[in-house]
Symmetry: C2
Subunit: 407 residues, 2 copies
């Protein structure tokens, strides 16, 4: 089995966090100068580990392994959320780097076909998992041409400023890989709150998103009698309450739903809102849960529309399919976890999206979680204990070696 | 009785609407170049009507009547809401101008002590009814020093650009006036929907405003299990629904309430909102309605706070007292309405705030409404039929003359 160096893992994570450091976290949006510098640093580290690095036309850093027969691709993304955490993405990238180093340092492991990767823009500054979709052939030139950041910056311009214009994009060759393995912080507090240390991901949830729109009549909040109002804000809060109640009745044990975004128009204290919008999202690994949720949502919107006085309408925004992780990979991760943390691991879904869901469409894929302190993520205060980081690196390496040997 | 010229009223309203014309409405914020030009035009019209005009240091245009013994102040405000209507404020100003002209033209009315006024900034671009508050001694230099528009422009700078810096502000002399009379569009659809043509305002509602804040815990919308969430958005919609239900139970016949402004933080589809705020407002002419509303709101917020998992808090924002209109003035408006539109008038509250509520603290005050088509106001499509505009001018003039003669 490979022997990972926990101190080196911690040191490299801290060094990587210097690129765009923000308080105890990191602000390193995709294609920012800090992100570009960090990718060059990663490429250099991959080279030191004996890999042949390339930064491709979408920003993926791939540490190629030219000699091996069958390869396991390992990694995660390296950019961060705005003012995000130091481990989200970075942990999986450095675990991959450490695994490559451990394999290279031990003659007994020299044939182990590790390829390390740092994907670009999993966090969606310019699109939806651009790097892993590009690598698996799912990102068109048209999408690259039209994509822009929330601030309106064009992806093409960002790529040019990052020095990536004109570079070819790496495309995966199915015959080259045994599969893909990714480690990540849990981003929830299931592990921490139950005292467990390793999560074995069974599947990545499907995420279904909808816009729900209420249309009433904008009017003066003083002169419009209650009986004559068509208050889109009142209609929205009533409908939102019903959605929360109904979803609670039909939820599976792990279903989550969120109304995270609401807009009143014109959103002024003395104007009866003429229009209101909310974004409704739910997630589960089981399509047999997701479909009844969608039906219930449509029913509730139709009921609200029928009841009046405001019109209610629904439009689908995006739907990702649940992604199952490979059962054999799960077995190997679990065995490695049991070796290093007996009884302190859990099979669980991933409630967040990850590059592994993209890779899993094209090859066997697996994911492993380490605990997040207080379950905090997408915030600069996100953290994990050093002991858990060190343990996770070794479990990850053991699982990867076992997968490659069994392939 | 004075004889008003309906065609002249319509023509002047149309001319005034040319200052800042926007579609069929007007965009004429206080102290904008269009507003400054319109105030100069009004001063000239007041002079033509035989009055002695002044534009004072806050922008009020006052057409003084030097000769009369006892005077009735008549008018309204002349700026508009952003992209607002052509009659909101303007109607009352032009009615005052027309009344002054009618009085001046008829030797039998020559002694009638009409003073016409166009107040500044009733619409609150820089503050709360700046002009009428200044005139009645309720606007301090400190407030002028610190006030700014929503866009951050300082009132002092706006006054300087409008050429008003250094001008004295006119202060009312109680001995000079019988009272204040204001005409305005209704801004609701009570008159139109019941086929009535004149509203006699009994009182102007008190408007009580509160911020309600829900504090939960911001978290990832995929990885945070439902049972562990402290979703401030869900807490807000639940509380808002309860507020709407409870208020409906305790409302008086004319009470109105509005939750017109809601904010989720961070208002992103995949983040459990950590904080939510809403602005709750209610209005009634009766303090015995307003006070139970306030108690109910405090109770509901305390219940939500106690129930958890989010904290709920309330902070008062502003409270204006209801303002009663003078009963004698109401009688005179009603008598004039009955003369010109028998049986087609209604005593009613004003659900909107008006300069008359400021004046009523210092002198007898009255208000008269004409119908608003579809009840639309604070929008460029606001309108009133020409027949109603013409009728209103005559009723207003008759009532004013009767009040002055009876004084």
């Amino acid at each position: 089995m490979p022997r990972t160096d926990g101190e080196r893992v911690i040191a490299d994570l801290k060094r990587l966090a210097e690129f765009g450091r923000y308080k105890t976290g990191v602000h390193r949006p995709t294609y920012s100068p800090e992100d570009v510098a960090s990718r060059q640093w990663l490429a250099d580290k991959f080279a030191e580990a004996g890999l042949d690095p390339v930064i491709d036309g979408i920003g993926n850093v791939i540490g190629r392994n030219p000699s091996a027969q069958r390869r396991l691709l390992v990694g995660s993304h390296s950019e961060t959320q705005p003012h995000g955490g130091w481990l989200d993405g970075a942990l999986g990238v450095i675990y991959g780097l450490e695994l490559a180093r451990a394999a290279a340092a031990d003659p007994a492991l020299a044939g182990l076909g590790i390829e390390a990767v740092a994907w670009a823009d999993e966090e969606g500054h310019y699109g939806n998992m651009l790097g892993s979709r590009s690598f698996t052939g799912g990102l068109s030139e048209t999408e690259i041409e039209t994509a822009a950041s929330r601030e309106g910056k064009k992806l093409r311009d960002a790529l040019a400023e990052a020095g990536l214009a004109g570079r070819p994009r790496e495309l995966f060759d199915p015959s080259r890989y045994v599969g893909y393995l990714e480690a990540h912080i849990e981003q929830g507090n299931t592990l921490e709150s139950t005292g467990l240390r390793i999560g074995i991901v069974e599947g990545i949830v499907g995420i279904w998103n909808y816009w729900v729109t209420l249309t009433g009549e904008q009017n003066h909040a003083g002169t419009t009698q209650m009986i004559r109002r068509k208050d889109a804000g009142s209609a929205m809060v009533r409908l939102a309450s019903r959605i929360n109640d109904r979803f609670a009745e039909i939820a599976g044990p792990r279903t989550v739903w969120t109304i995270g975004r609401m807009l009143l128009d014109p959103n002024a204290p003395s104007i009866v809102p003429g229009r209101a919008e909310m974004q409704v999202q739910f997630r589960d690994t089981d399509t047999n849960i997701l479909e009844p949720f969608e039906r219930a949502l449509h029913e509730l919107v139709a009921e609200a529309d029928h009841a009046g006085p405001c019109r209610a309408a629904i439009a689908p925004l995006s739907k990702t399919a649940p992604a199952a992780m490979d059962p054999g990979f799960q077995t190997q991760i679990e065995a490695a976890a049991e070796r290093h943390a007996p009884g302190r691991h859990l099979r669980m879904p991933s409630g967040a999206g990850h590059d592994a869901q993209i890779l899993s469409r094209r090859m066997r894929s697996g994911m492993m979680f380490v605990p997040s302190l207080k379950g905090i993520s997408h915030h600069w205060s996100e953290d994990t204990t050093e002991a858990d980081i060190v343990l996770g690196a070794q479990v990850f390496a053991d699982a990867a070696a076992a997968i490659l040997r069994g392939a």
